[in-house]
Point group: C3
Chain length 348, copies 3
């Protein structure tokens, strides 16, 4: 009965939102309301699908799949922005995705999971490797910025391309390491929770479908939102790094929090941290290489504000997650840092 | 017999110092000598009172009480400086208190405790949380400074006030977390050492009395010292961050070292680290809010030198304390960093 | 049979290289080829000697001896550069030695050791202390640079000399701590691997002899290489920090990798990390003091690029080594950071 209600809500809210988007007959306030209702349903759908896949594939692989599908949407949106040469917005949204995942998604997961369970634990070796990879991401973005003022544009392009290739290689080797040679060392202990609702094949199909729906719905919402934000006079940096990133990560949000509430904190961490690592070490470098085909290289130099935000997020997330044990206050700490950064970006 | 000698020394040195301060008939050299002798006695008295309270309340709560009473004096002194608009001296003394506690008090405790015991251990979960809170403090001071050049004075005030409110909320939630929801997880193993000298009520009364005496005595000493430092041509930054901070933290010094010598390293760490966290996350933000009532907002932007000092102190203290195990050489490392910073501040 | 072949190769390649160097009758390409072949043989000889001494003295002391003999050569070369007032090249080669050891030598050891063994472990307390000492080194180089713009030349000399004296004291106390008072706590578990080839006395003699041969051979190779690098138009910074450092650390390279392959990862880490600590905390400060005798003080202020490189190397090496457990992917991470820095230094 409850499931039928959810299915009806999901389909009808999605269709209503589609009609509102393409017809354009509703006032933008109504359109925004439809989009927000729909995103809650599709995010919920994605969360269920992820959990079901995680049941069959293990917490980590399920988390990895969720992070990848979540980032696929962002990669597609960024692709079109790179094509149009809008590099600054791309970098702002990369920054926003990284800190949104490390601070907001992870923070809410730890807080909400921690309110239910006194202490939640995940694989300490994975935590340690995640921390080192986060440092690599910060270093790879920090070094080009530190050398930028002494390099010509052509040399900066060379540096950006080489760093991009090296990072992609490092990320692919990480997948090989964590999924093949050291799979068992990085796995969480099995946590069984009864039978899943769907078969293995159907779970994967729903995961793909839900991700696609989230991606489409996010784009519609972002479009509607841009009209609104200009009315409120918000800066592009703030909108790109905070507003769009929060909505664009709706998939990670809903899935991670649902998993944390079911005490599968390992999968929640994998979604949040794994997603930000994927953006920093794979999506961003791929975008640099893609820009080569459109004639103008997007360099890998981020602004000081963006570097501060990414560096600060990585350091506090590493400090909190490195003991493989989490509680509600660690969630509070991450959210506090997110607030401080949000205020600073809003004011600047 | 020994205790009688101590009581007589305490009272007579305190009275002599009071006479010298209010009469002003002695040359300043004699006045300084009286102050120094008196501060040794009152600091010793405070140490005994803290230890006695720690016996009844547990190491952590005893350490927290000591840190709070120690900082109450500093908060009162800073209150009058804020009222007079002397923001630079306030920030210099906040910096000095943080690094004095993290490097000098903690360093001496580990060194002196480590010379007596090969290895001293304290709760590793507490160490981990302390480290993350220190990072939060550094981030909260670093972000406004990084954005300062791009913000108007009004926006900077808004940022300072918002960050202050967020930090106070984070600190109060930390107290709730560490004293209520996760009290047992953060507690040290009980270390029993015979009967205390005083009853529970008398111990608390003596703790309050001794703190008040230290506060009063510190003020007298600071006054005398200022005359001297001007004669030696020392800079305000150096006097504020090093000379005043060392004397202002006399209470923490004597208590922490005495506890370390009795192998209660958990309480010593709580005093040193807890005191610096309290200053960064509670005293400093409260001073920002207090400044609102005097018409001119004190922003939360510290100078580069101050940020370097705080950042460096937090990082080395976190690195050394994070394994929950201490030895004499770790004390040496903290003191070495304190020396390097001291020389740099002295020369600049 | 195999050993005889090695002995003949070692002696003949060394003699050929000597003839080429002093006669100067060969073209520089041939001279370079002779040097490279010879360096492979003498480095192999040093590796065997170190391993044999490590058998008698324990992994850590053997590693320490190797690091010290390896750095003795660099100290001698730097001594002559300081005498000639070539401070920039000295600092570039100090930078190169530190990052070469922390990233290249350690990275290759972890990678090659990790390809043979799934996981290699070493003493976790030693890892923790090494990490704190690395931080001290970064702090000691970072603080003077942060204060440099506000100090006169004379005050900068005073700061450099005082920091140098403090660092040397800290390093000597570290030796006392790790070799005397806490020797057992920092020792690795014994790993026995059959009988060594040589007696105790002969092992030590061969260690000294092999180190001397590596030092002499490195100098010859550096001389030949300089001719080549000028032909290729490489910058002095890149050659000093990367080319010379790689060859100058050939001794550490061969010994560390050989030990990692024999699962003596504790000794390999001691060579790589111990060597970089010795350079930062002992060799560099001693060079500052030596410069006093030649009339002009070498200050301890490194360039921004050098500080970025040292800071980045220390942070990632600390993050990776702090759990006392290593694998092939951690080696990859270190090598990736070395590549990024190498490209940046090459382009700048």
């Amino acid at each position: 009965m409850k499931r039928h209600f959810f299915t009806i809500g999901l389909i009808s809210s999605f269709l209503l939102s589609a009609v509102a988007h393409y017809s354009g007959i509703f006032p933008s306030a109504v359109q925004l309301a439809f989009s927000c209702i729909a995103i809650i349903f599709v995010a919920g759908f994605l969360g269920k699908a992820t959990e079901s896949v995680a049941h069959y594939a293990g917490e980590r692989v399920g988390g990895f799949l969720n992070a990848t599908f979540g980032n696929a949407a962002e990669l597609i949106i960024a692709f079109f922005l790179v094509k149009e040469g809008k590099f600054e917005i791309v970098k702002a949204s990369i920054t926003g995705s990284i800190i949104g995942n490390l601070l907001l998604v992870l923070g809410l997961s730890l807080l909400i999971g921690g309110l239910k369970y006194k202490e939640q634990n995940f694989n300490i070796k994975l935590a340690s490797h995640n921390g080192s990879l986060m440092l690599l991401a910060v270093i790879a973005l920090f070094v080009p910025a530190a050398f930028a003022s002494s390099l010509t544009t052509i040399k900066m392009s060379t540096l950006s391309i080489t760093v991009a290739v090296v990072l992609i290689a490092a990320y692919l080797l990480w997948l090989y390491f964590s999924m093949v040679t050291h799979k068992n060392e990085l796995a969480d202990e099995a946590v069984e929770h009864g039978e899943p609702a769907w078969s293995k094949g159907l779970s994967i199909f729903f995961l793909v479908l839900a991700t696609a729906m989230v991606a489409v719905q996010s784009e519609w919402l972002v479009g509607t939102l841009e009209v609104f934000t200009h009315q409120f006079g918000l800066s592009e940096l703030f909108v790109g790094a905070f507003v769009i990133a929060i909505i664009g990560n709706a998939a990670e949000h809903s899935a991670a929090i649902m998993l944390a509430r079911k005490n599968k904190i390992g999968a929640a961490v994998e979604i949040a941290v794994g997603s930000s690592l994927q953006i920093a070490l794979f999506v961003a470098p791929v975008l640099v290489l893609i820009s080569l085909f459109f004639g103008k290289t997007m360099d890998i130099v981020f602004t000081t504000f963006e570097l501060v935000a990414i560096g600060v997020a990585a350091i506090i997330a590493k400090s909190i997650s490195q003991d493989g044990s989490t509680n509600w206050y660690e969630g509070v700490l991450l959210l506090v840092v997110y607030c401080i950064l949000g205020i600073a970006f809003f004011l600047v």
